[in-house]
């Protein structure tokens, strides 16, 4: 894949910069960070969680985490997945959603809870998602998306700061 690495772009690194080169000393990190993104956000077979739902979940997390670069990235993924303007607007805010379908609204509410207050999750919430038609696999996929973007935001923020210090 020749397009720029997403974490490099979000952290403002070019691959030939000192911190871009530093990352390549840990090639396994780079490869499986990218691989995780791809299987979660743009999988060949999205199975029970549509590409729109996946990108919407990721955009919600990046928005809650106030990362402009990753929010822009996931907004673009959501657009490419074919989401309408109302869905993009609903996913790209950090407050309660009104404009989405009941299923997407429930997904985004769950995603926001996992992102901001993982300790307040309960079995009853997973039961409610299953009653909306989400299979255990789908719920695991959503948890992995939130967990991954939470990771990605912090890797990008940390590397951005490290690169600023190295340049200064």
């Amino acid at each position: 894949m020749n397009e720029p690495d997403i974490v490099d772009a979000a952290a403002g690194l070019s691959s030939g910069s000192p911190i871009g080169m530093l990352r390549r000393q840990r090639d396994v990190f780079v490869r499986h960070t990218r691989g995780s993104h791809d299987v979660l956000v743009v999988p060949r077979d999205p199975a029970g969680v549509s590409l729109v739902e996946r990108a919407a979940a990721a955009l919600r997390v990046a928005t809650i985490e106030r990362d402009p670069a990753l929010s822009a990235h996931y907004r673009e993924q959501l657009r490419r997945a074919g989401a309408d303007a109302a869905t993009i607007a609903a996913a790209g805010q950090d407050a309660e959603v009104s404009a989405a379908s009941p299923r997407l609204a429930a997904i985004l509410r769950h995603v926001a809870l996992v992102a901001t207050a993982p300790g307040s999750a309960t079995r009853a919430r997973l039961d409610a998602l299953q009653q909306l038609g989400l299979a255990p696999r789908d719920i695991v996929t959503l948890a992995q998306i939130v967990a991954f973007v939470s990771y990605q935001v912090r890797v990008a923020a940390g590397l951005r700061a490290l690169a600023q210090e190295v340049r200064a």
Binding site: L22, F29, V39, T141, A143, S150
Partner: protein, 188 residues
């Protein structure tokens, strides 16, 4: 929500949804489970529902925690315990507190973090790791070049800081999976 009961004792974890059963798992699920730290744990048997993501996450997690050189393992474990305390992940903190104690023979450092909070008195290197891990966990967008200074003062080079960032970030990930797909079973 009651206050989490952090412990240095072993904690079990129970899934909130039916797990993948070894008897009916696909070959890919079995291979991904074999590449995980504990193939029979309900946690990995839950993650195996989405085998595509588990196939990527296991090697990432393993490299972040165990890749050679760079940040010493005990420092990575300390950072992950700090993140787990902030997020309230009793299971994660127990596992990695025990690893830290095995590596350093200093369980009392963890016990003080549990009892007195993250502000407890620490050696300068541990203080710098705890403060950085706490800030990157709570306020990633407020991390800046100035936050590198305490890490440099205790001798960290670029690769060590790179590894510290990833250990902290990996537990933003791990805690959210552990805390939202099941619950800890406290030691009996």
């Amino acid at each position: 929500m009651s206050k989490p009961n952090f412990t240095l004792e072993a904690v079990e974890w129970a899934a909130w949804m039916p797990t993948v059963e070894a008897a009916t798992a696909t070959p890919r699920q079995l291979a991904a489970l074999d590449a995980s730290p504990q193939r029979d744990s309900p946690y990995f048997l839950t993650l195996a529902h989405d085998v595509d993501s588990l196939e990527q996450r296991s090697p990432l997690f393993h490299a972040v925690m165990y890749a050679p050189r760079g940040l010493p393992r005990a420092d990575r474990e300390l950072a992950t315990v700090v993140v787990s305390i902030i997020n309230g992940c009793v299971y994660c903190s127990s596992v990695h507190a025990r690893r830290f104690a095995e590596l350093t023979k200093q369980p009392e450092i963890i016990q003080r973090l549990y009892n007195e909070g993250l502000g407890t008195a620490l050696q300068p290197r541990q203080r710098a790791i705890v403060d950085f891990a706490a800030k990157l966990t709570r306020s990633p967008q407020e991390i800046g070049a100035a936050d590198m200074a305490p890490l440099r003062e205790v001798g960290m080079d670029d690769l060590q800081i790179h590894d510290l960032i990833h250990a902290v970030a990996m537990f933003a990930n791990a805690n959210r999976l552990m805390q939202t797909l099941g619950e800890p079973i406290p030691p009996g």
